[in-house]
């Protein structure tokens, strides 16, 4: 059950991670509306990703990773739909089959002693070195969050790193009627 002044009566279902895809009109304030709903009603955002996806129609796709019971997440979906510029809300976990990926950029503090290990690990994870003017060691890794997590854990055991992650984006992998 959801929040109320009073304790929840029913048993609470399991807390799970959910990926929500929200299509919105790309207008000023729309992101603030979406995240304001989360903070105002006390829901969690684990990660958030926004980008315009169609040039002609001015629509942005927001990918939100959240966690909660199915009741809470269903309430989140309904509250999102109340926001005027929101076109649609899709819970990709509910749909069952979706593909997700994220990108991480990793600045690696490298020395003669760890160099070999670092390159081996990056090779194993197919992390790609990004050339840059300062010639520092920056790797890019893309893929499911799980994989990025493992990579980061292992590289951390070797050396000091600085990491930036995009948070996952996801798309349904269910067969669609290809009309367009």
């Amino acid at each position: 059950m959801n929040k109320s002044v009073y304790d929840s009566p029913d048993q609470v279902s399991e807390i799970k991670r959910h990926i929500l895809t929200v299509l919105v009109d790309n207008e000023p304030g729309v992101l603030a509306r979406v995240i304001g709903m989360f903070s105002g009603r006390g829901y969690n955002i684990d990660s958030l990703n926004v980008a315009e996806v169609s040039n002609d129609e001015n629509i942005s796709r927001i990918t939100i990773v959240t966690h909660g019971t199915s009741e809470v997440v269903s309430q989140i979906e309904k509250q999102l739909l109340r926001i005027v510029p929101v076109h649609s809300v899709t819970n990709l976990d509910q749909e069952g089959s979706s593909v997700e990926a994220e990108v991480a950029l990793v600045y690696i503090y490298i020395s003669d002693t760890n160099k070999k290990k670092v390159y081996q690990l990056c090779d194993l994870y197919r992390a790609r070195k990004i050339e840059n003017e300062n010639n520092t060691t920056i790797f890019e890794i893309a893929g499911a969050s799980e994989r990025v997590n493992r990579f980061i854990k292992e590289i951390n055991e070797i050396t000091k790193v600085e990491i930036v992650r995009s948070g996952p984006v996801a798309i349904s992998s269910i067969q669609k009627n290809e009309e367009e």
Binding site: M1, S4, Y6, D25, G29, A32, M37, K78, R82, V84
Partner: protein, 588 residues
């Protein structure tokens, strides 16, 4: 470009095309161009309030008593922040409002300019939608969309923030019918209208042995026709019905099926019936915490049908068995036709048994109070007000507190849209400006604000407005010198320590009225009460009637926070057990 007009003119033209007759507002630097345009026209009337907070409550009162959209016009900065309470109030109680705010010119936005604030940022969570209009050519389409959004689906407040340079700039006006609003921006009922859910619901009702209808403010928002249909359906079924604070008037309180209001200060029989029913039909209510009491003991053995236009209300706090998303009028109309089509008939034997049980609960006479003595009991004052006004077209508004609950319990409403009160937000200071708005919408009707001595002082400055526009609003103060509801909770839950709930140095309300060139009346004993009420009604002027009531009266019956529907307190003597009182203390 001879078709171009200024942004300010577009504002007025949009309002006129939307059928707006009156705007409640207060001028200031950032809206001067709009006020200048207002000055040059005659079709839209402006009511000048004395504080912006009064403007928005007046617009709410106007909207809820007329069914039209209330319009507010205020300046930037403090003008905008002063309407935040009213916007939140309208959001909670689903009142259609369009609020226009001025903004500093665009080149100054972000510079901490004089009277600048982030209006759209501040009001985002307390409006259904808001706009900062940067392009004068978009102004008319924004207005037309704003009015549609305010009224569409579950109504609510919409704010339009207009920088001063946009008000001066020239642009083209687009007519209402030229604007296409994309469907995702509006509520649209599903095309097949959940036909199978309606069938399922009607079938469930027909098999009920102990049904109860639980009616909320959504029935009022759906229009007068919705109330008629709800009444018709309840009559066909023969079921008891209870109403929320917001739903009073949907079914006449004189109706044989009506059990009156339910909830924290609702009727004993209504709450008991909710607790023991086997089928609950919620029409346009949202299982508010003032209604449900403790959730784990809320109507434990019933199947629940929930009709609501806002899907987010479904399973929000209470899980229901048959949810129907839609407008009350359309859904109930379909339900009636299914009922008739399938020739359903409820089992009269079990229904009669149910009514027997309810009639037993009625015998408790939960509103009973000790009426001895010459001192006026607040309940008695409301009863007399009802008796002396019931044959007149009367609108009742209230502030928030004990007097509000006594008004809900003792004033009998036979029609929708006659009762205006702040339910969701519980805004003290709502009632008087709301009464001004209702009187503007209904110049010939009797409009009474049943107030408390504390609440009325929160917007007392509007006396000046009422007198200026010759609005014969009546303020009926149940004066006990306390913030009565705060005092009551302190008595019941905080060991009688009346921390800051006594108002010392109250004004002399009679002289206060006179200083505004209104009429002040006072009743100190039961002997004077009827005369004062009669005189108040007959006075063709703004009146403050200061009714001195017993000071420490409590509002009963009461479900204390943390208790269930079947654990009502009927009087002070019936103390709640200590443990649940302690548990309830942390709740609101």
């Amino acid at each position: 470009m001879n078709n171009e007009i200024t942004g300010a003119e577009i504002v007025l033209k949009s309002l006129a095309e939307q059928g707006v007759e009156v705007v409640f507002g207060y001028p200031g630097g950032a809206v001067l161009p709009i006020y200048d345009t207002l000055f040059k026209q005659n079709s839209i009337k402006h009511v000048l309030v004395r504080q912006e907070g009064g403007a928005i409550h007046a617009a709410e009162g106007y909207a809820r008593s007329t069914g039209k959209t209330g319009v507010v016009l205020v300046t930037s900065g403090p003008g905008a922040t002063n309407v935040v309470t009213g916007l939140t109030d309208a959001m909670m109680d689903s009142v259609p409002i369009v609020c226009i705010t001025g903004q500093v010119p665009q080149h100054l936005i972000g510079s901490d300019a004089f009277q600048e604030c982030d209006t759209t940022g501040i009001t985002r969570p307390c409006t259904k939608h808001n706009y900062l209009v940067k392009d004068v050519n978009k102004l008319s389409s924004v207005f037309h969309e704003a009015f549609t959004i305010a009224q569409n689906g579950r109504p609510g407040p919409v704010l339009i923030d207009i920088p001063k340079d946009v008000q001066f700039a020239s642009g083209t006006y687009e007519e209402k019918n030229k604007i296409v609003i994309p469907s995702h921006r509006l509520f649209e009922p599903s095309p097949d209208f959940e036909k199978n859910k309606i069938d399922e619901a009607v079938d469930l009702i027909s098999k009920a042995k102990k049904p109860i209808f639980y009616i909320g403010g959504g029935c009022i928002n759906s229009g007068p026709q919705a109330s008629k249909l709800v009444r018709e359906f309840i009559n066909i079924v023969g079921s008891p019905v209870t109403m929320t604070l917001m739903g009073l008037g949907v079914v006449a309180s004189s109706d044989k099926n009506s059990l009156g209001m339910l909830g924290m200060h609702g009727m004993y029989e209504a709450n008991m019936a909710m607790h023991q029913c086997d089928v609950m039909i919620n029409i346009g209510a949202r299982f508010d915490d003032r209604v449900t009491g403790r959730l784990d003991a809320f109507s434990p053995n019933s199947k629940k049908i929930h009709i609501d236009i806002d899907e987010s209300n479904i399973n929000k706090t209470i899980n229901v068995d048959v949810p129907i998303i839609g407008d009350v009028k359309q859904v109930v109309e379909k339900m009636i036709s299914v009922w008739k089509e399938k020739k359903y008939k409820i089992n009269t034997d079990s229904l009669n048994l149910w009514w027997d049980k309810i009639n037993k609960w009625k015998e408790i006479d939960c509103l009973n109070y000790n009426s001895e003595g010459k001192q006026i009991k607040p309940q008695y004052a409301v009863q007399r007000l009802y008796e002396l006004t019931k044959n007149t077209k009367t609108f009742i508004t209230t502030e928030v507190g004990q007097h509000q609950m006594w008004a809900a319990q003792f004033y009998k409403f036979d029609e929708p849209n006659r009762w205006l009160t702040s339910g969701g937000l519980g805004t003290m200071g709502y009632g008087f400006p709301a009464a001004i708005g209702a009187q503007v919408g209904h110049p010939d009707a009797l409009v009474v604000d049943i107030a408390g001595d504390a609440s009325i002082l929160m917007n007392i400055q509007e006396m000046s407005t009422a007198v200026q526009y010759r609005l014969p609003v009546k303020i009926f103060i149940l004066n006990n010198e306390y913030m009565g509801m705060v005092r009551q909770w302190q008595e019941l839950l905080h060991g009688g320590r009346y921390s800051e709930s006594y108002t010392d140095s109250l004004p002399d309300f009679v002289k206060l009225a006179e200083s505004y060139k209104a009429v002040g009346l006072r009743a100190k004993t039961t002997d004077e009460l009827d005369d004062v009420i009669t005189q108040m009604i007959e006075t063709k002027n703004t009146v403050i009637a200061d009714i001195w009531v017993t000071k420490e009266e409590n509002c009963f019956p009461m479900i204390q926070s943390g208790s269930a529907h079947n654990e009502m307190m009927l009087s002070k003597d019936q103390k709640q057990d200590k443990k649940s009182a302690e548990k309830g203390k942390i709740l609101v």
